[in-house]
Symmetry: C2
């Protein structure tokens, strides 16, 4: 199994720096008072395509040799990987095919199309997604860039924590949401070398807690078609992300749908950034476990900001 | 009439720097493509109390001598000046009394109270506001910090453009919304010395276009109780802001309510920041006048981010 190294992450950062943004780190006195800790938010929602996944996508796309590049890339994704891979392919001027569940938010489909990605829809289950994708890839010859179980992608996501440590004076804890585990694995990859004393805590919706259960049981457990408002976190761990999660993550905490919505609204209101429900899961779990984080410097990665503004979770029935 | 000078602005910046944030400048490739110009957004919504008005408020509060400071400050405001003055007073540990129209958004009242400000409500008209305020000031002895017609406030607001020019490589145009004209006057104060070649364009709702009509007629025209979703822009020009507006502003452009809402939503979606309707007026007017700005480097000041998330203008009937 090809596991990316710290040097792969450093090479990724050099490769993608000209294309991605060095996103800002934001703070809120209000949220610090509320939680009793020193929160630093790394705003990956402020990447041009609105998510951290542009890092891994750019690392994969810009690392292709010319012969493969003309055939382009292909992937399946619940949303942000699709738009970010399309964005990366557009930046290099190569084709991008994506298989996406038909239930994915309209805002995410619109974004993929805006960046020139070609969408093929599938049923909202891992099984259907993978079968549909096999057909598409056979037809196009596009290089498969898995949303997270790809060493190039994990190395790319790891560049976020490198910047985060450069932008802060050290962190006691870094928290990130966990779905397939791409961002968490990249965080593990980087911090296990750069800041091994920093705890890595993953946060997951109760209603899609396969990573939590995997972590407690000691082997990968996958759900088929879980349901949560945190639509970026529906997918299961795979062997490469399990490698990092099982080895370097200190704990996985979970939060209910209501807690996620409340944390999302708190962040919109006091940090004044637009972020997705998935990105609110770390703060939601922290608010439930305040004593554990009291007085600590906690870095939270705001993973994405692509939201359907006409369907906000606190404006029911609209 | 006491008109603040460039040196007053420089002194204000030294005074308030330790308390306020040097807010980030953000860009969006999408909005650049849409408008055909190079847009740079100065995010004053990311001040801790969510608005540029913390600059003028801090300059006034931290400039008080000890004898006056113990009596505190007092003001009337449609919202953000009230919360920002309360914030500044809290930071210095002195009292703050505010008169606020009873129609002001709940979110803004909550913020004032969170910062220890004491609210007295009045009718939503300039006349009622000023009468109620006279009573409060007589009772408390608080130093009157007018929301905009105060040299300390104008000098404080001018520090925003100083940072903006430091953070960018020069701008062809700076745009800001205009209500009473505090931010626009501060911008004029700073740029007329620091970057006299930079055009200053003010943006106003059609439904509260008293500054536009004043500008065209050559003297102050005041509305009593105009109605617009841009609730930060309801107040009229006063003599000090008229001084700057009439002398240094290149033009005032207006936009309809629908255009303001559309620009607000565009910014939330593509810049991924939470901003108020008032802050969307510059982009709304720019979108109507694209040819005028084509190819230019346009700085837009996002003036505030305090929004009632339960009553967003595009989720009607909620």
């Amino acid at each position: 199994m090809n596991i990316p190294t710290y040097e792969d992450m450093l090479a990724a950062h050099e490769r993608i720096k000209p294309i991605i943004r060095r996103t800002p780190v934001r703070t809120s006195d209000y949220l610090n008072d509320l939680t009793g800790c020193n929160l630093l938010f790394k705003c990956e929602n402020m990447q041009e395509p609105g998510a951290f996944k542009v890092r891994g996508a750019c690392n994969a796309v810009f690392g292709l040799d010319e012969a493969q590049a003309v055939k382009g890339v292909a992937t399946h994704s619940s949303g942000n990987h699709a738009s970010c891979l399309s964005y990366a392919a557009m930046k290099r001027g190569i084709p991008c095919n994506v298989v996406m569940p038909k239930t994915a938010p309209q805002a995410k489909k619109d974004t993929v199309r805006r960046y020139g990605g070609v969408i093929t829809e599938c049923e909202p289950s891992t099984t259907s997604r993978e079968a549909t994708f096999a057909e598409i890839q056979a037809a196009t010859g596009g290089d498969f860039v898995h949303p997270y179980n790809d060493p190039r992608v994990i190395a790319g996501q790891g560049t976020c924590s490198k910047e985060f440590m450069e932008q802060t004076d050290g962190l006691d804890v870094v928290m990130a949401p966990i779905g397939g585990g791409g961002m968490v694995s990249g965080t593990c990859l980087t911090l296990s070398t750069l800041a091994p004393e920093t705890q890595i805590i993953a946060a997951e919706p109760e209603q899609a807690d396969d990573a939590y259960r995997s972590f407690k049981e000691g082997h990968i457990i996958a759900d088929d078609a879980p349901k949560t408002i945190a639509d970026g976190l529906l997918v299961p761990l795979k062997e490469r992300t399990w490698h990092f999660v099982s080895k370097y993550v200190s704990d996985i905490l979970t939060a209910s749908e209501e807690e996620i919505i409340e944390a999302m609204k708190l962040t919109w209101k006091h940090l004044r950034v637009v972020m997705e429900p998935s990105s609110a899961v770390p703060l939601a779990t922290l608010l439930k476990n305040k004593e554990r984080f009291a007085g600590k410097r906690v870095g939270i990665i705001i993973t994405g900001g692509n939201v359907d503004l006409d369907k906000l979770p606190w404006t029911k029935g609209v």
